[in-house]
Symmetry: C2
DNA sequence: CAACAATAGTTGTTATTGACAACTAAATCG
DNA sequence: CGATTTAGTTGTCAATAACAACTATTGTTG
Protein backbone atom coordinates (compact mmCIF):
# COMPACT_ATOMS: atom_id res chain seq x y z
CA UNK A 1 0.00 0.00 0.00
CA UNK A 2 2.93 2.28 -0.61
CA UNK A 3 2.16 5.93 -1.04
CA UNK A 4 2.97 5.43 -4.67
CA UNK A 5 -0.50 4.04 -5.28
CA UNK A 6 -2.39 6.88 -3.75
CA UNK A 7 -2.63 8.62 -7.11
CA UNK A 8 -4.42 5.78 -8.75
CA UNK A 9 -6.58 5.22 -5.71
CA UNK A 10 -8.00 8.66 -5.40
CA UNK A 11 -8.43 8.89 -9.11
CA UNK A 12 -10.48 5.73 -9.26
CA UNK A 13 -12.54 6.60 -6.25
CA UNK A 14 -13.37 9.99 -7.67
CA UNK A 15 -14.26 8.68 -11.07
CA UNK A 16 -16.34 5.76 -9.95
CA UNK A 17 -18.15 7.65 -7.26
CA UNK A 18 -19.06 10.48 -9.58
CA UNK A 19 -20.60 7.94 -11.87
CA UNK A 20 -22.33 6.08 -9.16
CA UNK A 21 -23.68 9.23 -7.67
CA UNK A 22 -25.14 10.46 -10.90
CA UNK A 23 -27.49 7.53 -10.94
CA UNK A 24 -28.51 8.13 -7.35
CA UNK A 25 -29.15 11.81 -7.88
CA UNK A 26 -30.93 11.32 -11.17
CA UNK A 27 -33.86 9.77 -9.47
CA UNK A 28 -34.64 13.10 -7.78
CA UNK A 29 -34.61 14.83 -11.14
CA UNK A 30 -31.60 16.89 -10.22
CA UNK A 31 -28.09 16.95 -11.55
CA UNK A 32 -24.98 16.56 -9.50
CA UNK A 33 -24.01 20.17 -9.27
CA UNK A 34 -27.49 21.46 -8.73
CA UNK A 35 -27.49 19.11 -5.85
CA UNK A 36 -24.30 20.66 -4.56
CA UNK A 37 -25.69 24.12 -4.67
CA UNK A 38 -28.84 23.08 -2.90
CA UNK A 39 -26.87 21.43 -0.15
CA UNK A 40 -24.61 24.39 0.23
CA UNK A 41 -27.54 26.75 0.51
CA UNK A 42 -29.18 24.50 3.01
CA UNK A 43 -26.04 24.37 5.12
CA UNK A 44 -24.80 27.93 4.80
CA UNK A 45 -28.02 29.79 4.21
CA UNK A 46 -28.88 32.48 1.69
CA UNK A 47 -25.85 34.13 0.17
CA UNK A 48 -24.59 36.00 -2.88
CA UNK A 49 -23.31 33.98 -5.80
CA UNK A 50 -19.69 34.83 -5.22
CA UNK A 51 -19.82 33.20 -1.84
CA UNK A 52 -21.47 30.18 -3.29
CA UNK A 53 -18.76 29.97 -5.88
CA UNK A 54 -16.03 30.27 -3.34
CA UNK A 55 -17.52 27.71 -1.03
CA UNK A 56 -17.91 25.22 -3.81
CA UNK A 57 -14.68 26.19 -5.50
CA UNK A 58 -16.55 26.81 -8.70
CA UNK A 59 -16.32 29.50 -11.27
CA UNK A 60 -18.85 32.31 -11.26
CA UNK A 61 -20.12 31.61 -14.76
CA UNK A 62 -20.84 28.07 -13.83
CA UNK A 63 -22.61 29.14 -10.67
CA UNK A 64 -24.60 31.71 -12.58
CA UNK A 65 -25.98 29.18 -15.00
CA UNK A 66 -26.52 26.47 -12.45
CA UNK A 67 -28.40 28.86 -10.22
CA UNK A 68 -30.53 30.01 -13.12
CA UNK A 69 -31.50 26.46 -13.89
CA UNK A 70 -32.53 26.03 -10.28
CA UNK A 71 -34.51 29.24 -10.41
CA UNK A 72 -36.31 27.89 -13.46
CA UNK A 73 -37.27 24.91 -11.39
CA UNK A 74 -38.38 27.14 -8.53
CA UNK A 75 -35.95 25.47 -6.18
CA UNK A 76 -34.00 28.60 -5.41
CA UNK A 77 -34.77 32.32 -5.59
CA UNK A 78 -32.59 35.27 -6.51
CA UNK A 79 -33.34 38.33 -4.47
CA UNK A 80 -31.73 41.72 -4.89
CA UNK A 81 -28.95 42.35 -2.42
CA UNK A 82 -29.74 45.60 -0.60
CA UNK A 83 -26.07 45.97 0.23
CA UNK A 84 -24.85 45.68 -3.34
CA UNK A 85 -26.87 46.30 -6.46
CA UNK A 86 -24.57 44.11 -8.53
CA UNK A 87 -25.23 40.99 -6.60
CA UNK A 88 -28.07 38.61 -5.93
CA UNK A 89 -28.85 36.83 -2.75
CA UNK A 90 -29.56 33.25 -3.58
CA UNK A 91 -31.78 31.29 -1.27
CA UNK A 92 -33.75 28.09 -1.17
CA UNK A 93 -37.46 28.18 -1.79
CA UNK A 94 -39.69 25.90 0.22
CA UNK A 95 -39.56 23.42 -2.62
CA UNK A 96 -35.81 23.81 -2.69
CA UNK A 97 -35.53 22.99 0.96
CA UNK A 98 -37.61 19.92 0.48
CA UNK A 99 -35.54 18.88 -2.49
CA UNK A 100 -32.32 19.45 -0.63
CA UNK A 101 -33.46 17.23 2.21
CA UNK A 102 -34.59 14.59 -0.17
CA UNK A 103 -31.32 14.68 -2.05
CA UNK A 104 -29.30 14.45 1.06
CA UNK A 105 -31.20 11.48 2.28
CA UNK A 106 -30.90 9.83 -1.06
CA UNK A 107 -27.18 10.42 -1.26
CA UNK A 108 -26.53 9.33 2.26
CA UNK A 109 -28.55 6.21 1.70
CA UNK A 110 -26.61 5.64 -1.45
CA UNK A 111 -23.28 5.90 0.32
CA UNK A 112 -24.53 3.81 3.19
CA UNK A 113 -25.48 1.12 0.71
CA UNK A 114 -22.20 1.50 -1.05
CA UNK A 115 -20.19 1.12 2.12
CA UNK A 116 -22.37 -1.54 3.63
CA UNK A 117 -19.82 -4.27 2.93
CA UNK A 118 -17.43 -2.50 5.30
CA UNK A 119 -17.40 -3.14 9.00
CA UNK A 120 -18.55 -0.46 11.38
CA UNK A 121 -14.96 0.40 12.25
CA UNK A 122 -13.92 0.55 8.65
CA UNK A 123 -16.77 2.86 7.87
CA UNK A 124 -15.90 5.11 10.76
CA UNK A 125 -12.30 5.17 9.67
CA UNK A 126 -13.27 5.85 6.09
CA UNK A 127 -15.45 8.76 7.10
CA UNK A 128 -12.65 10.19 9.18
CA UNK A 129 -10.13 9.78 6.41
CA UNK A 130 -12.42 11.27 3.83
CA UNK A 131 -12.82 14.27 6.03
CA UNK A 132 -9.08 14.72 6.13
CA UNK A 133 -8.73 14.26 2.41
CA UNK A 134 -11.49 16.75 1.88
CA UNK A 135 -9.77 19.36 4.01
CA UNK A 136 -6.60 18.81 2.05
CA UNK A 137 -8.46 19.20 -1.20
CA UNK A 138 -10.20 22.33 -0.04
CA UNK A 139 -6.90 23.81 0.98
CA UNK A 140 -5.43 22.93 -2.37
CA UNK A 141 -8.35 24.17 -4.39
CA UNK A 142 -8.86 27.57 -3.01
CA UNK A 143 -7.25 28.62 0.12
CA UNK A 144 -3.53 28.35 -0.33
CA UNK A 145 -1.71 29.28 -3.50
CA UNK A 146 -1.46 25.77 -4.91
CA UNK A 147 2.22 25.23 -5.66
CA UNK A 148 1.29 22.71 -8.28
CA UNK A 149 -0.26 25.30 -10.52
CA UNK A 150 -2.30 28.49 -10.28
CA UNK A 151 -5.66 27.18 -11.45
CA UNK A 152 -7.33 30.53 -11.33
CA UNK A 153 -9.36 29.54 -8.33
CA UNK A 154 -6.32 29.32 -6.20
CA UNK A 155 -5.31 32.87 -6.44
CA UNK A 156 -7.61 35.88 -6.35
CA UNK A 157 -4.26 37.43 -5.52
CA UNK A 158 -2.17 37.55 -8.63
CA UNK A 159 -3.60 37.15 -12.08
CA UNK A 160 -4.98 40.67 -12.07
CA UNK A 161 -4.93 40.96 -15.78
CA UNK A 162 -3.08 39.27 -18.61
CA UNK B 1 -19.39 12.71 11.94
CA UNK B 2 -22.53 10.67 11.78
CA UNK B 3 -22.96 8.45 8.78
CA UNK B 4 -25.47 10.96 7.56
CA UNK B 5 -22.67 13.14 6.27
CA UNK B 6 -20.93 10.49 4.27
CA UNK B 7 -22.90 11.43 1.19
CA UNK B 8 -21.67 14.97 1.17
CA UNK B 9 -18.17 13.89 2.01
CA UNK B 10 -17.62 11.50 -0.82
CA UNK B 11 -19.31 13.86 -3.19
CA UNK B 12 -17.01 16.71 -2.32
CA UNK B 13 -13.92 14.59 -2.38
CA UNK B 14 -14.78 13.23 -5.80
CA UNK B 15 -15.58 16.60 -7.24
CA UNK B 16 -12.63 18.45 -5.88
CA UNK B 17 -10.15 15.76 -6.64
CA UNK B 18 -11.32 15.42 -10.19
CA UNK B 19 -10.71 19.08 -10.62
CA UNK B 20 -7.42 19.08 -8.88
CA UNK B 21 -6.23 16.13 -10.85
CA UNK B 22 -7.07 17.68 -14.17
CA UNK B 23 -4.51 20.35 -13.58
CA UNK B 24 -1.90 17.82 -12.55
CA UNK B 25 -2.48 15.65 -15.58
CA UNK B 26 -2.70 18.56 -17.96
CA UNK B 27 0.93 19.30 -17.57
CA UNK B 28 1.77 15.99 -19.24
CA UNK B 29 -0.43 16.91 -22.19
CA UNK B 30 -2.85 14.13 -21.41
CA UNK B 31 -6.43 14.14 -20.29
CA UNK B 32 -7.79 12.35 -17.30
CA UNK B 33 -9.27 9.39 -19.07
CA UNK B 34 -6.41 8.92 -21.45
CA UNK B 35 -4.36 8.73 -18.34
CA UNK B 36 -6.61 6.04 -16.99
CA UNK B 37 -6.31 3.94 -20.06
CA UNK B 38 -2.56 4.27 -20.12
CA UNK B 39 -2.32 3.20 -16.51
CA UNK B 40 -4.61 0.28 -17.07
CA UNK B 41 -2.61 -0.91 -20.03
CA UNK B 42 0.56 -0.54 -18.09
CA UNK B 43 -0.81 -2.56 -15.21
CA UNK B 44 -2.80 -5.20 -17.06
CA UNK B 45 -0.92 -5.39 -20.33
CA UNK B 46 -2.18 -5.47 -23.91
CA UNK B 47 -5.83 -6.37 -24.19
CA UNK B 48 -8.90 -6.01 -26.35
CA UNK B 49 -11.06 -2.94 -25.91
CA UNK B 50 -13.89 -4.78 -24.25
CA UNK B 51 -11.61 -5.82 -21.45
CA UNK B 52 -10.35 -2.30 -21.09
CA UNK B 53 -13.90 -1.07 -20.88
CA UNK B 54 -14.80 -3.63 -18.28
CA UNK B 55 -11.81 -2.94 -16.16
CA UNK B 56 -12.41 0.77 -16.19
CA UNK B 57 -16.18 0.41 -16.01
CA UNK B 58 -16.51 2.50 -19.12
CA UNK B 59 -18.66 2.17 -22.16
CA UNK B 60 -17.23 0.74 -25.34
CA UNK B 61 -17.94 3.82 -27.42
CA UNK B 62 -16.06 5.96 -24.99
CA UNK B 63 -13.16 3.53 -24.94
CA UNK B 64 -13.15 3.41 -28.69
CA UNK B 65 -12.77 7.14 -29.08
CA UNK B 66 -10.35 7.54 -26.22
CA UNK B 67 -8.15 4.81 -27.59
CA UNK B 68 -8.24 6.38 -31.02
CA UNK B 69 -7.07 9.65 -29.63
CA UNK B 70 -4.19 7.85 -27.95
CA UNK B 71 -3.38 6.09 -31.18
CA UNK B 72 -3.24 9.47 -32.89
CA UNK B 73 -0.68 10.50 -30.34
CA UNK B 74 1.25 7.28 -30.88
CA UNK B 75 0.91 6.37 -27.23
CA UNK B 76 -0.97 3.15 -27.84
CA UNK B 77 -1.25 0.80 -30.80
CA UNK B 78 -4.19 -1.22 -32.07
CA UNK B 79 -3.17 -4.58 -33.43
CA UNK B 80 -5.46 -7.12 -35.03
CA UNK B 81 -6.54 -9.83 -32.67
CA UNK B 82 -5.66 -13.16 -34.28
CA UNK B 83 -8.29 -14.84 -32.15
CA UNK B 84 -11.12 -12.58 -33.20
CA UNK B 85 -11.29 -10.49 -36.34
CA UNK B 86 -13.77 -8.08 -34.74
CA UNK B 87 -11.49 -6.99 -32.01
CA UNK B 88 -8.29 -5.06 -31.59
CA UNK B 89 -5.55 -5.70 -29.13
CA UNK B 90 -4.63 -2.42 -27.57
CA UNK B 91 -1.14 -2.00 -26.23
CA UNK B 92 1.24 0.68 -25.11
CA UNK B 93 3.90 1.90 -27.46
CA UNK B 94 7.31 2.74 -26.09
CA UNK B 95 6.23 6.36 -25.89
CA UNK B 96 3.06 5.24 -24.20
CA UNK B 97 4.97 3.36 -21.57
CA UNK B 98 7.08 6.38 -20.90
CA UNK B 99 4.05 8.59 -20.70
CA UNK B 100 2.29 6.18 -18.36
CA UNK B 101 5.25 6.20 -16.01
CA UNK B 102 5.48 9.92 -16.13
CA UNK B 103 1.79 10.33 -15.46
CA UNK B 104 1.86 7.98 -12.57
CA UNK B 105 4.75 9.74 -10.99
CA UNK B 106 3.08 13.07 -11.54
CA UNK B 107 -0.19 11.93 -10.05
CA UNK B 108 1.41 10.25 -7.11
CA UNK B 109 3.46 13.34 -6.43
CA UNK B 110 0.33 15.38 -6.71
CA UNK B 111 -1.50 13.28 -4.17
CA UNK B 112 1.54 13.19 -1.93
CA UNK B 113 1.60 16.97 -2.02
CA UNK B 114 -2.11 17.11 -1.46
CA UNK B 115 -1.95 14.89 1.56
CA UNK B 116 1.23 16.33 2.94
CA UNK B 117 -0.61 18.19 5.70
CA UNK B 118 -1.67 14.82 7.10
CA UNK B 119 0.45 12.87 9.52
CA UNK B 120 2.04 9.63 8.44
CA UNK B 121 -0.60 7.64 10.30
CA UNK B 122 -3.42 9.64 8.81
CA UNK B 123 -2.04 9.11 5.36
CA UNK B 124 -1.71 5.40 5.92
CA UNK B 125 -5.23 5.26 7.24
CA UNK B 126 -6.51 7.30 4.35
CA UNK B 127 -4.87 5.03 1.82
CA UNK B 128 -6.34 2.02 3.52
CA UNK B 129 -9.78 3.54 3.64
CA UNK B 130 -9.65 4.65 0.06
CA UNK B 131 -8.83 1.14 -0.91
CA UNK B 132 -11.91 -0.11 0.87
CA UNK B 133 -14.09 2.56 -0.66
CA UNK B 134 -12.69 1.73 -4.05
CA UNK B 135 -13.53 -1.93 -3.66
CA UNK B 136 -17.02 -0.98 -2.65
CA UNK B 137 -17.35 1.28 -5.67
CA UNK B 138 -16.02 -1.38 -7.99
CA UNK B 139 -18.49 -3.85 -6.61
CA UNK B 140 -21.28 -1.37 -7.09
CA UNK B 141 -20.24 -0.34 -10.56
CA UNK B 142 -19.79 -3.59 -12.24
CA UNK B 143 -19.40 -6.79 -10.40
CA UNK B 144 -22.61 -7.34 -8.59
CA UNK B 145 -25.96 -6.66 -10.15
CA UNK B 146 -26.20 -3.21 -8.63
CA UNK B 147 -29.45 -3.09 -6.74
CA UNK B 148 -29.48 0.65 -7.22
CA UNK B 149 -29.69 0.36 -10.97
CA UNK B 150 -28.41 -1.91 -13.71
CA UNK B 151 -26.13 0.53 -15.47
CA UNK B 152 -25.35 -1.69 -18.39
CA UNK B 153 -21.82 -2.27 -17.21
CA UNK B 154 -23.05 -4.72 -14.64
CA UNK B 155 -23.33 -7.63 -16.95
CA UNK B 156 -20.16 -9.54 -17.50
CA UNK B 157 -20.35 -12.71 -15.51
CA UNK B 158 -17.19 -14.29 -16.76
CA UNK B 159 -13.86 -13.12 -17.97
CA UNK B 160 -13.43 -15.91 -20.43
CA UNK B 161 -10.18 -15.02 -22.14
CA UNK B 162 -6.98 -13.56 -20.84
C1' DC C 1 -24.62 -25.70 -43.34
C1' DA C 2 -27.95 -21.79 -43.10
C1' DA C 3 -30.40 -18.74 -40.11
C1' DC C 4 -30.01 -16.16 -36.18
C1' DA C 5 -28.33 -14.30 -32.02
C1' DA C 6 -24.54 -12.34 -29.58
C1' DT C 7 -20.35 -9.66 -29.50
C1' DA C 8 -16.53 -5.99 -30.84
C1' DG C 9 -16.04 -1.84 -32.35
C1' DT C 10 -17.46 2.63 -34.77
C1' DT C 11 -20.12 6.66 -35.34
C1' DG C 12 -23.72 10.07 -34.26
C1' DT C 13 -26.04 12.45 -30.91
C1' DT C 14 -26.86 14.30 -26.48
C1' DA C 15 -26.09 15.97 -21.56
C1' DT C 16 -23.20 17.42 -17.75
C1' DT C 17 -19.29 19.63 -15.86
C1' DG C 18 -16.51 23.15 -16.00
C1' DA C 19 -13.04 26.62 -17.64
C1' DC C 20 -11.90 30.99 -20.01
C1' DA C 21 -12.88 35.43 -22.24
C1' DA C 22 -15.47 39.34 -23.10
C1' DC C 23 -18.91 42.08 -21.63
C1' DT C 24 -22.23 45.24 -18.44
C1' DA C 25 -23.13 47.49 -14.42
C1' DA C 26 -22.24 48.74 -10.01
C1' DA C 27 -18.86 49.69 -6.18
C1' DT C 28 -14.65 51.37 -4.29
C1' DC C 29 -10.51 53.87 -3.96
C1' DG C 30 -7.18 57.51 -4.91
C1' DC D 1 -14.44 62.44 -10.62
C1' DG D 2 -11.96 58.81 -12.96
C1' DA D 3 -9.66 54.37 -12.68
C1' DT D 4 -9.95 49.92 -11.06
C1' DT D 5 -12.10 46.08 -8.98
C1' DT D 6 -15.95 43.20 -8.36
C1' DA D 7 -20.64 40.65 -9.36
C1' DG D 8 -22.89 38.57 -12.58
C1' DT D 9 -24.15 37.27 -17.58
C1' DT D 10 -23.32 35.29 -21.94
C1' DG D 11 -20.70 32.93 -25.52
C1' DT D 12 -17.63 29.48 -26.66
C1' DC D 13 -14.93 25.44 -26.06
C1' DA D 14 -13.16 20.91 -24.22
C1' DA D 15 -13.51 16.67 -21.48
C1' DT D 16 -16.35 13.02 -19.74
C1' DA D 17 -19.67 9.99 -20.56
C1' DA D 18 -24.03 7.64 -21.82
C1' DC D 19 -27.26 5.73 -25.34
C1' DA D 20 -28.69 4.24 -29.90
C1' DA D 21 -27.96 2.67 -34.34
C1' DC D 22 -25.01 0.55 -37.35
C1' DT D 23 -21.28 -2.89 -39.47
C1' DA D 24 -18.84 -6.88 -39.31
C1' DT D 25 -17.67 -10.86 -37.26
C1' DT D 26 -18.37 -14.97 -34.29
C1' DG D 27 -21.01 -18.60 -32.11
C1' DT D 28 -25.15 -21.36 -31.82
C1' DT D 29 -28.75 -24.19 -33.18
C1' DG D 30 -32.11 -26.44 -35.88
Amino acid sequence: MSASEAGVLLREVARLYTRSQRAAVDCCGTTNTQCHILTELRDSGAQPMVDLGQRLCLEKSWISRAVDSLVDERLVAKKANPADARSWIVSLTAAGKRRAEQLNETLDAHVRGLLSPLTVEQRAQATQSLQLVLSALRADAGLDGGRTEPHQLANHARQSRI
